[in-house]
């Protein structure tokens, strides 16, 4: 069974990600130990809550450096929801807080429609990859705006079109929650494990 390390930074629904990874056939380990994360082969960064608070917790736990290193070395990595947003440089949610800056671009707030967006929305792949077409579960007030289009793996529409998944090398990040997207999500997790 493939071992995956889920980064625990005190926020985020760790147990949902654990349960889904088990179901997808992985052996998930939860850790907030910088050393373990520093040498983990496959990392998941889940997250819900505030951008600024999440980065603050990541720094307080000395996890920013090992997570950045994993991203620089292009180790297998999955960012979910806020765990996707913090991969960017900054967010309108927490002005002044720097993100992990692994992907160029910023995170901005929905200006129309009910906020947060809550529910199932269509994921439309923009290139061939492990993200397939289907419905996934979203709950977000902010969305990522990558600086370069080449990283975009799929788009979704909530009044406007935006990038709901990015993929670059061994990095995959989704604005939706694959761990809560039924069979569609479990299959994506399986493909991520296998690729």
């Amino acid at each position: 069974m493939k071992e995956v390390t889920i980064v625990d930074c005190g926020t985020g629904n760790i147990s949902s990600v654990m349960n889904a990874m088990k179901k997808a056939g992985a052996n998930p380990i939860v850790s907030s130990d910088p050393k373990k994360i520093g040498r983990a082969k496959a990392i998941i960064l889940p997250g819900v809550g505030l951008f600024g608070y999440f980065m603050q917790e990541l720094r307080a736990r000395k996890l920013e450096e090992p997570v950045k290193k994993a991203l620089e070395e292009d180790r297998k990595f999955l960012g979910i929801c806020l765990g996707m947003q913090v991969l960017f440089e900054e967010s309108e949610e927490s002005p002044g807080t720097t993100g992990l800056s692994a992907i160029g671009g910023k995170v901005v707030k929905f200006q129309t429609g009910k906020v947060p967006q809550v529910g199932w929305n269509k994921v439309e792949p923009s290139k061939k990859g492990i993200v397939k077409e289907g419905f996934a579960y979203f709950t977000n007030s902010y969305y990522p705006m990558p600086a370069g289009k080449e990283v975009v793996a799929a788009n979704s529409n909530y009044v406007i079109d935006y990038a709901c998944a990015v993929q670059r090398g061994n990095l995959l990040a989704t604005q939706f929650h694959p761990e809560k997207s039924g069979i569609y999500g479990l299959e994506l997790l399986k493909r991520w494990l296998e690729c």
């Binding site: 349960n19 819900v48 947060p116 269509k122 709950t139």
Partner: protein, 251 residues
Amino acid sequence: MLTKRIIPCLDVKDGKVVKGKNFNKLEYAGNPVELAAKYEGQGADELVFLDITASIENRKTMTELVKEVAKEIFIPFTVGGGISMVSDIAKLLNSGADKVSLNSAAVNNPKLITQAAQRFGSQCIMIGIDAKKSEGKWKVFTQGGMINTGIDAVEWAKKAELLGAGEILLTSIDRDGTKNGYEIELTKSISESVGIPVIASGGAKDPESILKVLNEGKADAALAASIFHYNKYSIAEVKKYLKENAMAVRL
């Protein structure tokens, strides 16, 4: 395009699913984990578990049940009933719940909404409003429908949003379990008064009544219990009907 959600609700008492009428007259309706798995298979978009006696008897919600459900179910689920402190919320979310629904405690202590939203994010803080018409106005009731707070339901919904709520779960006590159709007028006025999603509850009768509350009531999601528990309609049938009537749903 965001789809409208169909949410079966499982009222839980002593670890079993029950269903009542007008918040009373309970009948046994099934095993929570089995029913949850059945509904996920039928295409439910989310699930809501309400510990319906917790608020009255001041019991804490069912952490063990939440853990069991979380292992089997891979769609979002909300837990409500008897949640009165930030530590209760932490326990439920850590056990695998995706959201919590705060009801009486939020009315008695509105600061709880803000504290919870700041710590866990608005996306997991749902505010349950149990409303009933009293002297021609919609009032908020607490303690499982027993206490009329005198608070205007629309005003409370607006305030809850300002305090940090991420969703409103609106239940009409008069319609609960009656299969008389949803309270359209109330749902519409709350949905149009807030910028967060509103889940309509109470009175689901048939697919037509669900279409009506989504269309005319402007609800973002419809919650139902009786019509699904007793196999009157499956969730798949309801969603198929909605799709045939030009409503965006996940099929």
